[in-house]
């Protein structure tokens, strides 16, 4: 188990991480999700031991690792641009972390071949390299140099280099961001399968909420150097703890509509359901706002984007012109732009946030747990 306790990191006056606490349970796939510049890569480097926190503690199985180097922590890491050694073959790339661990200075030199013990170690090493290469289906590439590989193949080699030893934690820094869209979808599934097969603890950094939702068992959303919310993908989607999390999670950006200053729901959405009497921001996901002949919301259609499985509608509220996003099934007969459209939603899909702090206010009927 890896515990991060109240970690902060600042460079001069800029505070990149601000009191981050997070627990990575053994064998779990945790995603660290946030926009670029939110500090998630810095956090990963702190866990790896490539950087050191200004304050706070990192515990591996209860042991403070502040004094340990990355190799002493026995972390494995996959980098965004793969960071393969260009002058070594694929096999040498994968073997390097093992060789550094298992062979002495002599063993790594050409002279090492003279010693039977070294020869034996080298043989097991070659076997381990081969095994992981088979796992990732890159055996035919072992003799090549990284420059001769495609992006997807380099990705696999980088994974193999990280997997070849038995690491305490597996750190992945946006490993799919350099792949094309189709390969990215395919690699998602493979990474999940790999996680299941190896049973390692995964910490996966990404800015792509769809990627995090698709792969992770738990997601930690990071915004401005702080952890905004930790939870399962479903929990984050259904009960976002803040406006910002709500805005970050979901395929279509959520509608955030301010209510009247004296409190209660915005008039356009107020269709009889009860609401707290304080200033609110109401969140309503586009996928939950759909055309309905008798719906309470009256909008005027600006544009329609047909996406195959869904149509995304851009509208303005008839009452005050507030822009809204909604969705419709693909077979919905879209009227011309400028037409009036009535929309409906289910009250339980409304997310209520405190207007001043952006924090969630439990819906009536929803048990009041946020995290």
């Amino acid at each position: 188990m890896i515990e991060l306790r109240n970690l902060s990191r600042h460079y001069g006056a800029t505070r990149v991480l601000d009191g981050v606490s997070l627990t990575l349970e053994p064998g779990r796939f945790t995603a660290l999700l946030g926009p670029s510049g939110c500090g998630k890569s810095t956090l990963l480097r702190l866990v790896a031991g490539l950087d050191r926190p200004s304050t706070g503690q990192i515990l591996f199985d209860g042991r403070d690792v502040a004094q340990e180097s990355p190799s002493e922590r026995n972390v494995a890491m996959v980098f965004q641009a793969y960071a393969l050694y260009p002058h070594l073959t694929v096999a040498q790339n994968i073997a390097l972390p093992l060789a550094m661990r298992r062979l002495g200075r002599l063993g790594r030199s050409p002279l090492g071949a003279l010693s039977p013990a070294v020869r034996r170690t080298r043989a097991t090493l070659a076997r381990d390299v081969r095994a992981v290469a088979e796992l990732l289906e890159i055996v035919p590439l072992l003799a090549r140099k990284p420059a001769q590989l495609s992006g997807g193949q380099q990705q696999r080699v980088a994974l193999a280099r990280a997997l070849v030893r038995d690491p305490s934690v597996f750190l992945l820094d946006e490993p799919l961001s350099n792949l094309d869209a189709r390969l990215r979808i395919q690699m998602r599934a493979e990474l999940v399968a790999l996680h299941r097969r190896t049973g390692h603890t995964f910490l996966y950094v990404t800015h792509d909420q769809a990627e995090a939702m698709a792969m992770a068992e738990r997601i930690a959303v990071m915004l401005d150097g702080r952890i905004a919310q930790v939870g399962s993908p479903r929990a984050l989607y259904e009960r976002p703890a803040t406006c910002d999390v709500a805005g970050f999670i979901g395929a279509h950006p959520i509608n955030l509509i301010p209510g009247p200053p004296e409190g209660g729901l915005p008039p356009a959405l107020a269709s009889g359901q009860p609401a707290p009497e304080r200033p609110l921001v109401v969140g309503l996901r586009p996928e939950h706002l759909t055309p309905a002949a008798d719906g309470p919301v009256q909008g005027r259609l600006d544009r329609v984007a047909f996406q195959g499985d869904v149509q995304v509608l851009g509208l303005r509220l008839e009452a005050d012109g507030t822009p809204l996003r909604a969705t419709a099934p693909p077979d919905w007969p879209a009227p011309d732009a400028g037409s009036a459209v009535r929309l409906g939603y289910r009250p339980e899909h409304l997310h209520l946030f405190d207007a001043a702090h952006g924090t969630r206010i439990a819906n009536p009927g929803e048990e009041s747990s946020c995290a």
Binding site: R52, A66, Q67, E68
Partner: protein
């Protein structure tokens, strides 16, 4: 005992960068300081003590007409070498650049030929020049004799010797400048010539002045500074061919440093010569760094 991690990291930095920094200070900056101090003394190698003499050494080098020879000769040498070497380098580069389009292989061979003197050992080549320039048996004077002319004593004529040395200096440095100009020419986008042609500059001469020359500006400045600093450093040919003679007519700064310092052991005087030489080089290298800086900004 295990050291604290920040101590270990600090130690690593020290082990990585420390030795180089130490030898750099010891072998470059400390000597520069010492030479500056010595230039105000009458110190002689091997002497037990020295006297402060203020600006006397500098006065002897800069004010005394006899002592000024080394500086004057160096500047003369540079004044001949710099423009000639640069313009020849540019001409050869333009010629080769044009030739590359029609005869790439021949152009490559010629480029190698022109660059050859830059890599060759100058002392050995100077000895070869000595044979070519021999007053009676040399190739040059024999050729002149065959044409009915009497060849001069290239290396022992007081008026001629600095020109002869400069010619060898030019022979040696044209290839270096050519290479830099070739790179500069290759970097000029061809569409600029098309644009110039549309604007009416379609004759070679016009094309050169409207496109080539302005585009080569930064390269030319760099070449000028490199040629200048290497002209100020002229030593090998002088030491091999004339040893500053005849009658100090080819005495130059670096040779004077060598002779005063290490033949006559007048360390104080030689240090002042060194500082004058250093000032001259600094003037031009500082300029070079200004140029490099602006180039980096453009990228």
């Amino acid at each position: 005992m295990r050291l604290n991690r920040s101590v270990r990291e600090g130690l690593t930095d020290l082990l990585l960068a420390g030795p180089a920094t130490a030898v750099m200070v010891l072998l470059i900056f400390l000597p520069v300081g010492i030479v500056a101090v010595l230039s105000f003394t009458d110190y002689q190698f091997g002497a037990a003590s020295f006297r402060w003499v203020g600006w006397d050494n500098y006065r002897a080098i800069l004010a005394d007409p006899f002592g000024r020879r080394a500086l004057v000769n160096t500047l003369t040498y540079a004044a001949i070498t710099i423009p000639a070497s640069i313009s020849l380098g540019l001409l050869v580069a333009i010629g080769l650049h044009g030739l590359t389009r029609h005869q790439p292989r021949l152009a490559a061979v010629l480029r190698a030929v022109y660059f050859l003197p830059v890599a060759a050992t100058l002392v050995a080549m100077a000895v070869a020049w000595q044979m070519i320039l021999h007053p009676t048996l040399g190739l040059v004077n024999q050729a002149l004799g065959a044409a009915g002319l009497e060849g001069p004593s290239w290396l022992s004529d007081r008026a001629l010797v600095i020109w002869t040395l400069a010619a060898i200096g030019i022979w040696q440095s044209v290839g270096y400048n050519m290479v830099l100009f070739l790179a500069g020419l290759a970097a000029i986008p061809p569409h600029l010539y098309d644009a110039a042609a549309v604007d009416g500059a379609d004759r070679p001469w016009d094309r050169f002045w409207t496109v080539t020359w302005p585009m080569l500006g930064p390269v030319t400045l760099f070449v000028t500074v490199v040629t200048a600093t290497s002209a100020f450093r002229v030593f090998e040919t002088v030491a091999t061919l004339t040893q500053g003679g005849p009658a100090f007519a080819s005495d130059v700064l670096v040779y004077a440093i060598y002779r005063e310092g290490f033949v006559y052991f007048k360390a104080g005087h030689a240090s002042a010569l060194t500082m004058v030489f250093f000032a001259l080089v600094l003037l031009f290298t500082a300029l070079k760094f200004r140029v490099l800086e602006t180039q980096v900004h453009y990228r």
